[in-house]
Structure formats: structure tokens, C-alpha cells
Symmetry: C2
């Protein structure tokens, strides 16, 4: 195996290290976050830092770098108190990636990339019409992580829209049926192929394949 | 599309809601976390909450539920100040899943599941010999998230071991060459198939496929 020491990591050129460390954690969730300001101007940004924080109440976390293009998303969601999360599929991942370009605040990434804002149930933040799995989130808490000044945004999941055949009898969502993609590093997009679902693990018994 | 309202989510049976909400965020990183206590007793636990927090210094986050089996991991890493992260591959995912069974503290999940502890460079925490991508982490910070009493553990990445052919010229790791898996929900394991890597996005120019 190849060994890379912490001294070698410290000495890496900045973009090389970013590509390396961003790959190291494994495959990640990749989503589009939709927001709007009070004047109705929309913003759309790709994130690969969404994570599960709890099921009851249903909470998710999102990491923001203070110096990134994602600041329009952050200021919008803090002011409006709401945002949408939209899964990527093969038809839109190139447009989704393009939302990470540094457009000025007055340009909507929806218009710039050709994705379509959709409004549902009076929610202020726009969904992505072309996304097949979408949900609305209410902003709950902002935590500044002093160790490197990143910002953790915690939100509470509200309404969910999924294709008709995706939810299984036990509540699980078959994300492959929704065409949901995963990502690795900063720029690599992947489809998935299920190996198995495994039964709840108990001591002294190996898990069964349940699907 | 099927609409699921926040009222319906609140009314869901507990395990059904857990399966549903854990699926909603998309595909996730899934890793084995290795720890040891001061007497050298080892612990191994599967996590699907690892996330990237920064490249310089190289930081990662991990979410712990206070009431879960993962508490042996938490007490070990707080006491020893260190842990290892080990990617899953097809050969070990069933054993990895089995580490989530509620073994008593005196039983090592290495022995119970047949995975092999490996020690490197004098690091106290054990690696998983059968894992093809491994790294050591120093415990840096513990943050209690008051919103639902989950715990965020922040760690700093130290030494990394990867297969020889995985790192690309720009620093990116080709995780498919390491056989790294992803997961969805609480129990579904997936291989991946790359669609493309896309070039750094700039306004007024669509991204190129770079690999």
C-alpha cells in the first residue's frame, strides 16, 4: 500500500490537498440547495456536505465555508428561514455542477444553468423541477465551528416529494429508482448498484440479505 | 409524485420514520471506526455519518447518538485521543454491518466478526487489515448539539494508506479502484459506477468532462 504521512499532507500544494482530502472520506451525498431572498430572487447551489442528524425530529446538517460561493445560499436561508434540498440525477448533474461557478449575486443559477424553479405549498424557497426527490427544510440553528471557521447549519425536514415507486414497505427509499447520484472528491459523479440490504444486526447471528 | 407532509412524518411509526429519514439525504459515506482503550481492548463500529470539514488542516466530522452501541467507540476515542477510519469493500461489508450488533463492552467486534486488527506506526487505535483505504485520526473537539443531544466529534487526519494505483495526478482518489462502497438508509450497501469527473465550473462556460 501507498503511505501518505501527515507531513506530506501539510506540504501538498493547496488544490492538490483539497482534491485529496475531499476524496478521503468516501462517497458523499450531493444535492442542490434552493433559496430565495425576500424580493423573490432565487439562488441554487450544489453541496456535498449534507448529513443525517436525527429522525425525530427529522434533522439534517449542512457545512458552509465562509469564503465560498455558497454565501448567497447562507444569507438567503438565514433571512428567509427556509431552503429546499433536491437530489441529482443523470439528466441534471452537469447543470448542477455548473451552479458552483462564481455567478454574481444578481444572477440566478436557475437561469444561468437552465434548471427550472418550482414552487409548492406556498414555501418561499424554490425546488428544482427536474429533480426527482425533493424536500423542504426550515432553518433551525447556525453553529460556527471555531476549529476552522466553517459553519454548520441545522435544518428540520418538512415536506417531501418522491417518485411513486420509491418508498418500500418498511419506510426505506430505494434511491436507485429515483436515479439519485453520489459524488466523490470535488467533481466526480457516480451512479450506484445495490449489493444488498442487510437485516438488523444481532450478536451471534450473521445478517441476512433482505432485498 | 408522492407527497409526504411533515404531519405524516411526525405520525410515522418510529422504525419506519428512521428508515425513511435516514434514506432521504442520499447516498452516504460508510466506514469502520477502530479504537482501543488503555488496556489495549479493541472496538470496531460502522458509521454512516462521516463528513468532510476542511482540507487545511485536514478535518473530518462524525455524528454520535448518545444512546447507541457506538458509545464504546466514543469513550475509547475520548480517552485515547485517537481512532482509525477504514473504508468498506465488497469482501467485508457484511462483517462491517455486523459490528452494529449490541456486543457487550468486553467483546471486541474484531473477534466477533472475524476482521483483523492491524497496528501501524505505533498508533494506539487498530486499523482493519481487510480494508483497502485506511487513515488515522486525532480527536480534536467534541460538540454537543443541544437540538437533539447528538454529539459531533471533530478529528484531524494524520496518516493515510491507499492502494498503489488509486491516487490521480491532481490529488483526487479514484475510490472505485479501492472498491470503496457507499450506503443508503440504515442497511443498504452499494457499489458505484462513475459517470464523469467535471472540470472546475466557471460562469459562461459549461463544465468539461475531465475523466
Amino acid at each position: 500500500m501507498q503511505h501518505i504521512s501527515s507531513e506530506q499532507i501539510s506540504a501538498m500544494e493547496q488544490r492538490y490537498r483539497a482534491a485529496f482530502i475531499n476524496s478521503l472520506g468516501g462517497f458523499k451525498s450531493v444535492v442542490l440547495v434552493g433559496t430565495a431572498n425576500d424580493a423573490g430572487a432565487t439562488n441554487l447551489a450544489i453541496f456535498n456536505s449534507l448529513f443525517h442528524l436525527g429522525a425525530n425530529p427529522p434533522l439534517c446538517g449542512l457545512i458552509f465555508r465562509p469564503d465560498s460561493v455558497e454565501r448567497h445560499t447562507l444569507s438567503n436561508l438565514e433571512a428567509s428561514g427556509c431552503y429546499t434540498i433536491n437530489h441529482l440525477n443523470e439528466s441534471i448533474y452537469q447543470q448542477a455542477h455548473q451552479t458552483s461557478a462564481r455567478y454574481p449575486a444578481e444572477i440566478s443559477e436557475f437561469e444561468a444553468t437552465g434548471l427550472t424553479p418550482a414552487y409548492k405549498n406556498g414555501f418561499q424557497a424554490p425546488f428544482v423541477e427536474e429533480s426527482l426527490l425533493q424536500f423542504s427544510v426550515l432553518f433551525r440553528e447556525k453553529i460556527q465551528l471555531s476549529i476552522n471557521n466553517t459553519i454548520l447549519i441545522i435544518g428540520q425536514i418538512q415536506d417531501v416529494w418522491i417518485p411513486e415507486n420509491v418508498q418500500q414497505p418498511d419506510g426505506f427509499l430505494d434511491l436507485e429508482k429515483a436515479g439519485t447520484l453520489t459524488c466523490s472528491g470535488l467533481d466526480s459523479y457516480h451512479q450506484t448498484k445495490r449489493l444488498a440490504r442487510l437485516s438488523y444486526a444481532k450478536p451471534d447471528k450473521l445478517p441476512d440479505i433482505i432485498l
